[in-house]
């Protein structure tokens, strides 16, 4: 499974607010668990507001999953990795699952 399906995430944040930092930390923890650190791009809308046009971003933080389809988005400061994976329809990798079950 791993590496066969493309994962493309974009996280929109606004500057270095606590909300932005929380969201970035949660998303980074998630992609680390998935072993897909390269799958997320972080966009600061205050620096490049034009980048927010493409996904019609109103609120920050917003995480948009472009792939795999269907695309979806999660709005908010994303405190919980498991809940975020559920919301994006992403399954944790089997070895992680096994770790958790034995732990």
């Amino acid at each position: 499974m791993e590496g066969t399906e493309r994962l493309a995430l974009r996280l929109y944040v606004s500057g270095g607010t606590p909300r932005s930092r929380r969201a970035i930390a949660t998303v980074r923890a998630m992609v680390e668990q998935l072993g897909r650190q390269d799958a997320v791009e972080v966009v600061d809308v205050l620096e490049t507001p034009s980048r927010a046009e493409e996904d019609r971003i109103v609120a920050t933080p917003t995480l948009v999953k472009h792939a795999p389809s269907p695309s979806s988005r999660v709005i908010g400061d994303l405190s919980d990795v498991r809940a975020l994976m559920d919301a994006l329809g992403l399954a944790p990798p089997p070895e992680n699952r096994a770790d958790k079950e034995t732990a």
Binding site: S14, R19, P49, S50, T60, S72, V74, I75, L78
Partner: protein, 502 residues
């Protein structure tokens, strides 16, 4: 009303919506935010988009339209009929969209707290691109259901509004309401836009839709209170507010006299009527009211003036056929642009549209005389309230522009008698001429009398008249005829006092 501060203490930004500057004393509070609320279909988007496009076209102000509901493509398409040239204004960089419409095929989940910094950043970037002064957020009601936590959305929208105010741009936010006369807006949206509130209504009035606009508050500035009618029409280029004109104000009355197109009739009025007079000709069918209107127009032709006639009783061709036998050169005067005859079924044109038409013709064609034949046809197709407004507003338009006007009215009874229109219109007309059938010496003949002529002497006698190939011919006074004009009671009591002046 809430008119804190002196008139003009707040800078105003003209909207470019005809008539709105008059009721708002100059436009929207500049550098502030105005909430425009209304039920579905009340014209909120038209108001907002016209504010943006007119700003770009007429004032050179760049504008940003933020759509929370429909895509920019759909907004442009829906507004296309108004001919504002929105696509060109976008191409030339005068107007930019910020698309915040939801993606129908994308799930959105809310997880934790958020802010609207992205929205404000996008609006700011768009404003910089177009050199923007004006912002429209349409509609904030569509934004709220996109989030679970209404409280957060309200808090963040409030910050966006403050951010826009800090940038010095003038913002219009639209929001939906459920009832025409209930809470200001759904979701308590008005709480965070406290500078100004404008309400658009589209209520049923005696089975007809009637659009009105009301300024509920303008913080720190004066405005006219109450509801004003408005129209939305593609032919008129969008929304037009119909401001109450200053009919109550004293205006210098003209002392110059003009002819009614008939020497005998002029004599009845004591030598023609004043330049800015409004004359009502009332009588049953067949007494020559349309002929009076045509003579009135003919007098303008003879004087080399522009004249406008609305004919709701007869088609254009019928009217010209009549005119050719009674008056001279009506067709030619129409061909060379001196006379405009507008024949229309009032059923197909609401009174507000008609009023706008009159206003437009006054501006572009510049008539010195206007005849409306007849008021009765208009009364048939409108509510009483709309009809009264029409009469008041046309009257004040004519007075402002020193236009002589003649209205005809059909009274229902053959012998005359008063109609509601007579009773109402008579209070604002300067002169009233009654046409009646009378039984004289065993024959049905016609009798005319001038009942009122403001500020002037007139012939108070009842006169017989005939309709000849040359028009109305006023004859001798009818001596000893009673009850022709003011009807006598059958029981011999004295007649009721006349309803009219004098």
């Amino acid at each position: 009303m809430t008119t804190a501060g002196a008139h003009g203490s707040l800078d105003r930004l003209p909207t470019g919506i005809p008539g709105f500057e008059q009721i708002s004393h100059g436009g929207l509070p500049k550098g502030r935010s105005t909430l425009v609320v209304g039920t579905a279909g009340s014209g909120k988007t038209v108001y907002g988009a016209q504010y943006i496009t007119a700003g770009a076209r007429e004032h050179g102000d760049g504008g940003v339209i933020v759509t929370f509901d429909e895509s920019p493509e759909a907004v442009v398409r829906n507004l296309d009929a108004f001919g504002w040239g929105l696509p060109e204004l976008i191409d030339t960089g005068k107007i930019a969209f910020v698309d915040c419409s939801p993606s129908p095929d994308e799930d959105a989940v809310e997880m934790g707290d958020f802010d609207f910094h992205a929205l404000l950043a996008r609006i700011r970037a768009a404003l910089e691109r177009v050199g923007g002064q004006r912002v429209l957020l349409d509609s904030v009601t569509a934004l709220l259901p996109q989030f679970y936590s209404e409280g957060r959305v309200r808090r963040e929208l409030s910050r966006v509004v403050h951010g826009l105010n800090d940038m010095g741009v003038t913002t219009v936010l639209t929001a939906e309401r459920i009832d025409e006369y209930g809470a200001i807006a759904r979701h308590g949206v008005e709480e965070f836009v406290s500078d100004a509130v404008v309400v658009l209504r589209n209520p049923l009035d005696e089975q007809r839709r009637r659009r009105t606009i009301e300024i509920l508050k303008f913080r720190g500035g004066s405005h006219q209170s109450g509801e004003f009618p408005f129209t939305i029409s593609a032919a008129e280029g969008g929304m037009s507010v119909i401001p109450l004109s200053a009919i109550e104000l004293e205006r210098p009355a003209s002392t110059a006299r003009v002819s009614l197109g008939n020497p005998g009739v002029d004599e009845l009025f004591g030598g023609g009527v004043y330049r800015d007079s409004l004359i009502l000709v009332s009588g049953p069918t067949g007494t020559g009211k349309t002929l009076m209107a045509l003579s009135f127009i003919q007098a303008a032709i003879d004087a080399g003036e522009h004249a406008l006639m609305f004919s709701f009783e007869e088609s254009h061709n019928q009217l010209l056929r009549n005119a050719s036998s009674w008056t001279q050169g009506m067709e030619e005067a129409e061909r060379n642009g001196q006379v405009k005859i507008m024949s229309a079924y009032p059923e197909r044109m609401g009174l507000e549209d008609l009023l706008q038409r009159v206003r437009r013709e006054i501006d572009s064609f510049g008539p010195r005389r206007v005849a409306i034949d007849s008021l009765t046809a208009l009364e048939r197709v409108s509510t009483r309230r709309a009809f009264r407004e029409f009469v008041v507003r046309t009257t004040s338009l004519f007075k402002e522009n020193e236009i002589a006007a003649l209205y005809t009215n059909t009274s229902s009874m053959i012998s005359g008698g008063e109609t509601i229109t007579d009773a109402y219109v008579s209070t604002i007309t300067d002169g009233i001429m009654l046409l009646r059938y009378a039984e004289i010496e065993g024959e049905i003949r016609r009798a005319a009398a001038v009942l009122k002529m403001r500020g002037s002497k007139h012939d108070k006698r009842v006169r017989e008249y005939t309709i000849t190939p040359n028009g109305i011919e006023v004859g001798h006074p009818i001596e000893g005829a009673h009850g022709l004009i003011v009807q006598q009671q059958r029981d011999g009591r004295p007649p009721p006092p006349p309803m009219y002046g004098e």
